[in-house]
């Protein structure tokens, strides 16, 4: 009867989220095996299972088969549904881990998404809620996803206890706009959020001061907010962090973040975040490293026109992501040095021909 779609096959647990997201977007079945098959604790981790649950809830008609040992899964994606959804994330990973694939899928859902996630809002591995709100969402705006795009941080929750809550609102679009972003511009403003939960609120001010000691030399337009959550909204564990964001004249955004570590003074955390930001600024480009995958994906999903974007060199994650894109969407990128005149320049221009991906899940009338 219906011809089975081709199955794309992967091995290993790496790049799990991106592959799932690509599979759901492209509608191709995906098989991932040898997931930690050599590990002492083989198979999928609890957060990966939780992610699969979340994706199953977020879509309609998705079939996920997990082998007995948990070292292989087969995903037959359904249609992206969107809508209102709540999910409790395990405390082994932060909310960012779960929200990143959702951000990739939500614009192409059937209904505008309103996803409430509970768990850890900031940890050292994943994008924190602040970065997602202030940096990731503006990146989506490049592609015409703006009206009603919002991330609300209702409660903050630091690791390991968690207890945070965020709400992600995303509109649906018909087609992603083609992006042509090759002028990184110059940095015109720096913003930052220093938050502290269940610790002395003074800590955030100390971080801000330390950060300002470096940043003040560059531009006057620096606002670092101290964001203290109290009582019920501050989660279950103590912690603090500084998130910095630099915006250029062409609204390219760079970001960096440092979170509290035991035995380290808040000043050092502030300095660490600031230096990380400067390192990011030095790398340059129009998109910072953490968001390369998202931007490249949306470029591929654009209309059948040439999209261009200037970025720093690809991270290993991005390289694999580009390969995965080729197997899912049969599209490759042209990557050339951005500045041929300058041999020092490490920035690259990524250009691709969009696949003309149209949101087929959208309901008419």
């Amino acid at each position: 009867m219906a011809q089975p779609s081709s199955v794309i096959h992967f091995s290993g647990h790496q790049h799990f989220r991106n592959r799932l997201a690509l599979s759901i977007l492209s509608g191709k079945h995906v098989r991932i095996d040898r997931i930690r098959s050599e590990d002492k604790n083989p198979g999928l981790r609890d957060y990966e299972i939780s992610l699969l649950r979340l994706l199953e809830k977020f879509t309609n008609g998705t079939i996920i088969e997990i082998s007995v040992t948990g070292t292989a899964i087969l995903l037959k994606p359904g249609v992206i549904l969107g809508g209102t959804l709540q999910h409790d994330c395990p405390t082994s990973r932060a909310i960012g881990y779960f929200l990143e694939p959702i951000i990739m899928l939500a614009p192409f859902a059937k209904k505008p998404a309103s996803v409430t996630l509970r768990g850890i809002t900031t940890d050292e591995h994943d994008l924190s809620a602040d970065i997602l709100r202030t940096v990731t969402l503006p990146h989506l705006q490049l592609f015409g996803i703006s009206q009603g795009l919002e991330l609300r941080i209702k409660k903050r929750g630091a690791a390991p206890g968690g207890g945070g809550e965020i709400q992600f609102l995303c509109p649906i679009i018909k087609q992603a706009k083609t992006v042509n972003f090759i002028d990184p511009g110059k940095i015109k403003r720096i913003r930052g959020i220093a938050h502290a939960v269940r610790v002395n609120p003074q800590l955030s001010n100390r971080m801000i001061e330390a950060s300002r000691s470096i940043l003040n030399r560059y531009i006057p337009d620096i606002y670092l907010y101290s964001d203290v959550y109290k009582g019920d909204e501050s989660g279950k564990s103590p912690g603090y962090a500084l998130t910095l964001q630099a915006e250029s004249t062409t609204s390219a955004i760079y970001c960096a973040e440092a979170i509290s570590e035991p035995g380290v003074a808040p000043e050092d955390i502030g300095l660490k975040a600031t230096r990380a930001l400067l390192a990011e600024v030095e790398k340059g480009g129009c998109v910072d490293q953490k968001h390369q995958c998202l931007v490249l994906l949306m470029m591929v999903l654009g209309s059948e026109d040439v999209g261009r974007c200037r970025m720093g060199e690809p991270t290993s994650k991005t390289i694999q992501f580009l390969r995965d894109i080729r197997s899912f969407f049969a599209t490759s990128f042209k990557i050339v040095p951005a500045d041929t005149a300058d041999p020092e320049c490490t920035q690259l221009t990524y250009s691709c021909y969009g696949t003309g991906y149209v949101n087929a899940n959208r309901t008419l009338a």
Binding site: G78, R217, I319, A330, Y357
Partner: protein
């Protein structure tokens, strides 16, 4: 006859006519332009006129759509010739081809591509009368020449075709009336033309172009008329159609079977075939790796796509100087399926027809394509093998020794038509690409392997088929290997589903894995020790240097610790150390707006440039900044020149902005959009201009206008066995989402010319997207936005929803539906049209279900209801549900009764009667059946005889099976016992107490005769007399009435007779008229038969 020069017109110099003309001339001079004549009389009118003009301007605007067809080297325009049989399609095709190329086709089959102008090529294709072909043609034609028999009028197929066109985006249509010479009378001709034109206009649009072709001369239409038509065709502009501008597609003009002969022989021709199709890419870019759909065959995978030399190229720059197309170019024609130039591509051979006697040296004789080909072959002085051996190809730039290729690469034999030079070039391209990147290296090796395989057999082969035998062998063995590899993988998910497919994929990915996944690990490891080299470059060097370590790397991976799939890269404190340095901090100051122009470069100052003071600086400064940042060559002079140029450019732009239109940007929304589109298109063209063709194909796919060869695997053998060039083969590209299946919700309306209503769960054939398929829809209507309620039949003159299981198609795609595609169906075949609304994996359609029960015990407002449910569990499910009696008393289900099972207590708003029926209205959700049956008409030997799933009743009728009859379902006579009402009994005590008026009337009717009845009457003599008189009068009256009656009867019969006579006369006349009509029809059919005969005869004569 037409070519004979006419006598020039000589105006009369004297006489009445000349005088009249003179007078008119004087008037003409006097008239001139009268300004007042068109000026408005009043201000209000002027206002209204102005407004109307503006409105009319607005109606001229259309939604700006992107046209993906490239401006330079566009694919040929597809011109389809459609019409009923015998209307003159082939004649028109031949005439048009003759007009463009001066060649006479003896047999026009399949697409025929010709060059029509300096910037336009045309592919003509004739559409046969099969509705399947009409559907396919309607989806790809840019221009339709709709032929109508003027002597007969429109036929049903024409209207069907127009409706198909409407559903799939209306291409341009030119009507052509033929057989007008059969209408002898001038006035009839005029009337016919007028009537047909009016009908045509209502179908297309008011003012649609309609051509008239008179009789046939020398088997062609008159040259002048054809020339007029061709002029219209060549200036026709096309509006982009949405579906075609989002899908790539091809009209295959050539198809070859590459399956090894041996395999076909051993499987008795039943094995799946490997097939190549050739054609111009149209629509959007075609990407390798996506699926394609061939309407009439099914979904297929492309195994390779190759760009071929254009068989029918547009004139190039050298001929550009001339205003007109040169005569040589005019002769170009590409029609592999017809026998152009004496070459005919059969299923498995190429035939070269040589008229008369043919000798090699005979230069003055006209040589066709085929002869040229053969002669070229004879002219070759060295074998291909030798030539390839002579050419030296280096794999890498650094490698000292050239590659040795022992035999000719593949894809040699397939491109017979393109000339030698082209081939050479192509071959070079191939090898170049191999050199380019390491990724392709493995491919290249594969190819080499194949080539080596070829060498063994090339010596003794002269035929195309045998060579390919060896070609397929390595690949098949590879597949086996892949399967073995797969076996040791740790799961068996989805294996049973499509082992074959997975196997194939696995092979690909296994290759990749060896390369890719370890590479990341390497990258990660490298991070720690070497920071200076960019990561991505580091990976590359890694690959190049230690190829031997491939398998060792894997082992490393095994004992590697958990790699988190993290969003953030961990911050390396070591790398941040450098930011403690003040110089380092200063070094990035130029990246901030306060930081000036660029990184401080020693030795070379930027002369004449002041450091910008932030964003407050004016345009000029900002421009200089940017210009400077971009161009930083070492040469200061060039640098200065570049900055100066950039500055000038900016100044000029500013000036233009200020002085060209002082009121600021005047572009309205429409112009803005158009401008945006054109800018994007320019960027699309420019971006990959100087990327080499192989990489370009990888990045953006194969562009429209390129002539490609697509190799398809696993094609059903019937497609080749039953190949018929008169049926178009279309290769439609599918978007990633369109490979999937799901429930498709559409808005549908039964066609008003389709005579029957459509029924839920009856199979229907849809033409949707590229596909034609049969599926089972369920019709529904939105019930107050609460529920989707199933409809058993489609409503009259109204849209409704239909939901069916089928391939996902983008919302807003139009479709048309058919109950049957057979040609013997009387009446209109397009049964419904509509548009796709929604795609989902589940449906929400419900149908009404009424549960009934009867009260068996009634209290005040409470009643016990039985016969509605059979268990108390069911009752529990419906607790609290609303119920109602037939008489309209509302109530609620309360609780199940312990005994008897299935009965329950219910409360009502009033006391119910025992005779009332209680019912519960429930909604039962239904799913459409998962039935999808593609119309595989191209696989049949008789392509118009496709039969899909039949209805149960149809099967029973065909097979002669009686409908099984359930005894319980038979209709029996309903025996309704007369309802007996017991007499009202009023207790005696009560009776006594009642007042008289209210007392029941208990008197019985009298049985004995009364006095009045039994008394004897004795009359007086007068009385007797009077009675007698009365009796006589009555008798008289009776007689009179009877006589009158008789007379009336007589008159009636007379009248009937008269009427009968008249009726007979009328019947005679009717008969006469019918006879006339039949005679006319007979004559027409006879003429048609003669026409057919005549064609047959000419054909015979030619062959």
């Amino acid at each position: 006859m037409d070519d004979k020069p006419h006598k020039a017109h000589r105006p009369s110099q004297s006489g009445a006519k000349a005088e009249k003309k003179d007078k008119a001339k004087g008037k003409e001079k006097k008239r001139g332009f009268n300004e007042k004549a068109f000026a408005p009389k009043s201000g209000r009118r002027a206002d209204r006129q102005g407004r109307r003009n503006v409105e009319r301007d607005q109606t001229r605007l259309h939604v700006p759509l992107v046209d993906r067809t490239p401006d330079e080297d566009p694919p040929p325009v597809i011109v389809a010739i459609v019409g009923p049989p015998g209307v003159g399609k082939t004649t028109l095709l031949k005439s048009l081809v003759r007009r463009y190329t001066k060649q006479t086709l003896s047999e026009a089959k399949g697409p025929i591509t010709i060059v029509s102008g300096k910037k336009r090529r045309i592919t003509f294709i004739e559409c046969n009368n099969d509705i399947n072909s009409m559907i396919d043609i309607g989806k790809i034609a840019d221009l339709v020449l709709l032929m109508i028999d003027g002597s007969f009028g429109f036929e049903m197929e024409t209207f069907e075709f127009l409706n198909i066109l409407q559903a799939h985006g209306f291409p341009k249509v030119i009507g052509i009336l033929t057989h007008l010479d059969l209408i002898k009378k001038a006035s009839t001709l005029k009337d016919t033309k007028k009537a047909l034109k009016r009908r045509f206009w209502t179908e297309i649009y008011q003012g649609a172009k309609l051509f008239y072709l008179s009789g046939v001369l020398n088997g062609r239409y008159p040259d002048t008329e054809i020339m007029n038509l061709s002029r219209f065709i060549s200036v026709m502009k096309f509006r982009p159609l949405v579906f075609r501008n989002s899908h790539p597609y091809l009209l295959a003009d050539r198809i070859e079977d590459l399956t090894p002969r041996e395999l076909i022989r051993t499987s008795k021709g039943k094995c799946d075939r490997t097939v190549t199709v050739y054609g111009y890419v149209r629509g959007t870019n075609l990407r390798l790796g996506t699926k394609i759909h061939i309407p009439g065959v099914g979904d297929l995978d492309m195994s390779s796509v190759t760009v071929m030399g254009d068989p029918c190229p547009l004139p190039t720059a050298e001929s550009e100087k001339r205003r007109k197309l040169s005569e040589k170019k005019k002769l170009l024609i590409h029609a592999p399926m017809s026998d152009v130039g004496g070459v005919m591509y059969d299923k498995d051979a190429v035939w070269v027809n040589v008229p008369g006697s043919f000798t090699r040296g005979n230069r003055d004789a006209p040589q066709g394509e085929g002869e040229q080909m053969v002669m070229d072959l004879q002219d070759v002085d060295a074998t291909l093998e030798d030539r390839v051996a002579q050419s030296s190809i280096r794999l890498f730039g650094t490698s000292s020794q050239a590659l040795k290729v022992d035999s000719s690469p593949i894809r040699r034999d397939e491109e017979g038509s393109s000339d030698e030079d082209d081939e050479e070039e192509e071959e070079d391209e191939h090898s170049d690409s191999g050199i380019g990147s390491e990724e392709d290296e493995s491919d290249f090796e594969d190819q080499e392997e194949d080539d080596e395989g070829l060498t063994e057999n090339t010596h003794n082969t002269g035929r195309a088929g045998r060579r390919i035998v060896t070609r397929s062998l390595p690949s098949s063995s590879k597949k086996e290997k892949a399967d073995v590899e797969y076996a040791d993988s740790d799961s068996d998910l989805g294996e049973d589903e499509d082992m074959d497919r997975i196997g194939k994929r696995v092979r690909l990915d296994e290759d990749e894995e060896d390369f890719d996944i370890p590479s990341d690990e390497e990258g990660l490891e490298d991070d720690e020790d070497e920071e200076s080299i960019p990561k991505w470059k580091a990976n590359l060097t890694e690959h190049q240097t230690d190829d031997d370590d491939f398998f060792q790397v894997k082992n490393k991976q095994a004992d590697d610790s958990e790699v988190l799939d993290a969003g953030k890269e961990p911050i390396d404190p070591e790398s941040l150390k450098k930011w403690e340095d003040e110089d380092m901090l200063e070094s990035i100051r130029h990246l901030f707006i306060t930081g000036g122009d660029g990184p401080p470069v020693e030795g070379e100052g930027v002369e004449g440039e002041d450091f910008g003071e932030g964003e407050g600086g004016d345009e000029e400064e900002g421009g200089s900044e940017m210009g400077d940042a971009e161009a930083r060559p070492s040469d200061p002079a060039a640098d200065r020149a570049a900055t100066l140029a950039a500055k000038k450019e900016l100044l000029k732009k500013k000036f233009d902005e200020q002085y060209d239109d002082p009121e600021g940007p005047k572009m309205d929304f429409y112009d803005e959009k158009k401008d945006e589109i054109s800018r994007q298109l320019a960027l699309n063209r420019a971006e990959f201009e100087n990327v080499d063709s192989e990489a370009r194909a990888l990045i953006e796919g194969y562009r429209p206008g390129q002539y490609v060869r697509i190799e398809l695997q696993d094609v059903p053998c019937e497609m080749i066995e039953n190949f018929d060039p008169t049926y178009p083969i279309i290769i439609g590209g599918l978007l990633p989402s369109e490979e999937r299946f799901g429930y498709v919700q559409v808005r549908v309306k039964r066609h008003r010319w389709y005579s029957r209503t459509l029924k839920t769960n009856d199979p229907l054939i849809f033409s949707l997207g590229w596909r034609r398929f049969q599926t089972i829809p369920i019709y529904s209507l939105d019930d107050h936005s609460i529920r989707m309620r199933m409809l058993k039949y489609t409503p009259e003159h109204m849209h409704c929803y239909a939901t069916f299981y089928g391939p996902v198609t983008l919302p807003n795609t139009g479709f048309c539906a058919f109950n049957s595609l057979a040609s013997d169906v009387a009446g209109f075949r397009v049964s419904a049209t509509g548009v796709v609304l929604d795609i989902d994996r589940s449906t929400k359609i419900v149908k009404k279900l009424k549960l009934t029960g009867v009260p068996y015990k009634i209290f005040k407002n409470t009643a016990f209801i039985k016969d509605m449910f059979s268990t108390s569990l069911e009752v529990a499910k419906f607790e609290g549900a609303n119920i109602r009696t037939v008489s309209g008393i509302r109530g609620q289900v309360k609780k199940a009764l312990p005994k008897p099972e299935g009965c329950f207590r219910a409360t009502f708003e009033d006391k119910v009667l025992k005779s009332d029926i209680v019912f519960l209205r429930a909604w039962y959700s239904i799913q459409p059946r998962k039935f999808y049956n593609p119309v595989t008409s191209l696989l049949l030997s008789e392509k118009s005889k496709w039969a899909g799933m039949r209805l149960t009743g149809q099967i029973r009728r065909d097979e002669g099976i009686k409908t099984p009859l359930n005894v319980n379902s038979t209709y029996k006579k309903i025996e309704r016992a007369p309802r007996r009402f017991n007499p009202l009994v009023v207790p005696k005590k009560l009776q006594a107490a009642l007042p008289f008026a209210s007392k029941p009337k208990l008197m019985k009717a009298q049985k004995n005769q009364t006095y009045l009845q039994k008394r004897a009457v004795v009359m007086e003599p007068e009385e007797k007399k009077a009675l007698a008189l009365m009796q006589q009068i009555r008798a008289l009256r009776k007689d009179q009435v009877s006589r009158r009656h008789e007379k009336k009867e007589e008159k009636k019969t007379e009248r009937a007779k008269k009427l009968e006579k008249e009726e007979a006369k009328r019947a005679e006349k009717d008969k006469e008229r019918k006879k006339d009509v039949m005679r006319m029809a007979g004559q027409k059919s006879k003429r048609e038969a003669e026409l057919e005969d005549g064609r047959g005869r000419t054909k015979r004569r030619k062959t």
